[in-house]
């Protein structure tokens, strides 16, 4: 396929669009594209609709069938990525060899970065509408939860890749603040433990989404008690093929732009409570000029001449007397 012609914007609107599409210091939220293969089971179509509903408005859904094999030739997908400015894709396909298969694809600069194939287990699949309860508003940022030791593997494998892709997929836009009222649902991913006797089949990934209900807690603490109610969709995935990122490309993708970290001010810190603490450096204190407590008893008497030992003793005695008198007056 020929590379896309470089477009020179002819009007301001096109220029705005192209500028928005160009690489940026702080990136726009990712757009997800949902599309399907020439054969696609009904279960997958329903699931695709539900995932699209969860992802809206940062999503595009294609209705037509596409004869694409992502693991063999992803060039068409790269074309779609560029055309739609979509850097995430969910490709649904169903074949005899790989039934009910969802391929999650992540792009970097409109080129495929990594892919993971997750096949849906049709028996346990439940759609959003099969749970008869209220649903959340569109475009809310969900809470995300990953349970199970499989996701925490120190070496990259299919499960860490799945976690990374799913997190990227569902995290929504990066925001500085969230409304407390907006914390309405949680998407929970969990992975089974690897059983010794069941080594043939890999552990499944369970995706559940729950509405969050906060109840008043015990009076001692002001934190609420949290209850969950399943909202759907309910999906169990079996991990299929994966394509890990090219190390060169991944390095480029993980690069942080310069000047993004806030400048640290020297000697100013914020402690764990959130108070601002500053440190200042004083010069060395001159103890010679230190003004100690003034006391009557140490005052030099008027009629005593300095420098004579006997006189000093006399002076002290006299002052003692004087002090006594003063004390009596005060009483």
């Amino acid at each position: 396929m020929l590379p896309l012609r470089q477009i020179k914007p002819k009007n301001a609107r096109t220029k705005r669009y192209l500028d928005n599409k160009a690489p940026q210091q702080t990136e726009n939220p990712r757009t997800t594209l949902f599309l399907k293969y020439t054969t696609c089971s009904e279960i997958l179509q329903l699931l695709l609709t539900d995932l699209y509903a969860l992802k809206r408005p940062l999503a595009v859904k294609f209705g037509k069938k596409n004869d694409i094999h992502p693991f063999e030739d992803p060039s068409s997908l790269e074309f779609f990525s560029e055309k739609n400015d979509a850097s995430l894709m969910v490709f649904a396909s169903h074949s005899k060899k790989r039934p009910h298969c969802l391929t999650f694809i992540r792009f970097f600069g409109f080129k495929v970065l990594d892919m993971i194939e997750l096949s849906v287990i049709p028996e346990t699949m439940r759609t959003l509408s099969q749970f008869k309860n209220e649903k959340t508003a569109q475009g809310l940022k969900p809470l995300l939860s990953f349970s199970g030791s499989g996701f925490e593997s120190p070496t990259p494998n299919a499960y860490t890749l799945a976690k990374s892709v799913l997190l990227d997929m569902f995290k929504g836009p990066d925001v500085a603040e969230v409304d407390v009222e907006g914390l309405q649902y949680m998407i929970h991913f969990s992975v089974d433990e690897e059983d010794g006797d069941d080594a043939v089949s890999k552990p499944q990934i369970h995706m559940r989404s729950y509405l969050i209900r906060t109840k008043k807690s015990v009076p001692a603490s002001n934190l609420p008690r949290v209850e969950v109610e399943e909202m759907g969709p309910r999906v169990d995935f079996r991990v299929g093929r994966i394509q890990e990122a090219d190390p060169e490309m991944l390095k480029e993708a993980m690069r942080k732009p310069k000047g993004m970290d806030p400048k640290t001010k020297k000697n100013i810190e914020t402690d764990i409570i959130g108070d601002k603490v500053g440190r200042i450096h004083l010069g060395k204190q001159d103890l010679g000029n230190l003004q100690t407590r003034k006391m009557k008893g140490l005052k030099r008497s008027r009629d005593v001449v300095d420098g004579d030992g006997d006189d000093e003793v006399m002076g002290v005695a006299e002052m003692g007397l004087e002090g006594d008198k003063r004390a009596r007056v005060e009483v």
Binding site: L167, E177, D179, V180, E181, S190, Y210, E227
Partner: protein, 188 residues
């Protein structure tokens, strides 16, 4: 699962994410849903409690004073969508100027930092210069004076000022004449 037990959760509050590395409890297909629900409930509670305790809660100014949780920056490393934008290429002139060490010429402004008072003051113009709000140590002569009230000096002070003025005048005259002498008979 006992919710009161301490958990080994890790959080990424910027993404509203909680990681629960404890293995899922053993389950059969029939108990799967209840197991997942209790796990989810525990993590949801853990995450919400962490959000409410670790993040500052502010009342927003725009939408009817709703309560907002201020989130930290996301900490999980995720790949970028597009490459880091390249720095704009320098023009030929900019490259040349950098090589030669000639910077952009900037006009020196009207403001000058007054060390004594620790503030910026105008050097000339309105409220600037020697007069009025001018720099420290200025006697209020010349310049557009904002402070138009002048102090009335008593006899002694007046005398001192006049003496100083005489000294300065004489010094100036001396310098000028010596300058003339130094030039010789130029122009003849």
């Amino acid at each position: 699962m006992d919710l009161s037990q301490p958990q080994t959760y890790t959080y990424d509050l910027g993404n509203l994410l909680i990681n629960d590395p404890t293995p899922l409890p053993h389950h059969t297909p029939t108990t799967l849903e209840s197991t997942l629900q209790t796990t989810a409930q525990a993590t949801a509670q853990g995450l919400l409690h962490q959000l409410l305790t670790a993040c500052p809660i502010v009342r927003s100014t725009d939408d009817a004073g709703a309560l907002h949780i201020r989130l930290p920056a996301p900490s999980t490393l995720l790949p970028r969508e597009k490459p880091v934008p390249k720095a704009k290429e320098k023009t030929t002139w900019e490259k040349f100027a950098e090589k030669k060490g000639i910077g952009k010429k900037r006009k020196e402004g009207n403001l000058k930092f007054d060390e004594g008072k620790g503030e910026w003051r105008k050097k000339y113009g309105f409220k600037g210069g020697k007069g009025g709000a001018g720099l420290d140590g200025m006697d209020g002569k010349g310049g557009v004076s904002a402070d138009w009230i002048t102090e009335v000096l008593d006899e002694k002070e007046k005398k001192e000022v006049e003496e100083k003025k005489g000294r300065v005048d004489r010094e100036g005259k001396r310098i000028r004449s010596s300058g003339k002498r130094g030039q010789g008979k130029r122009g003849h």
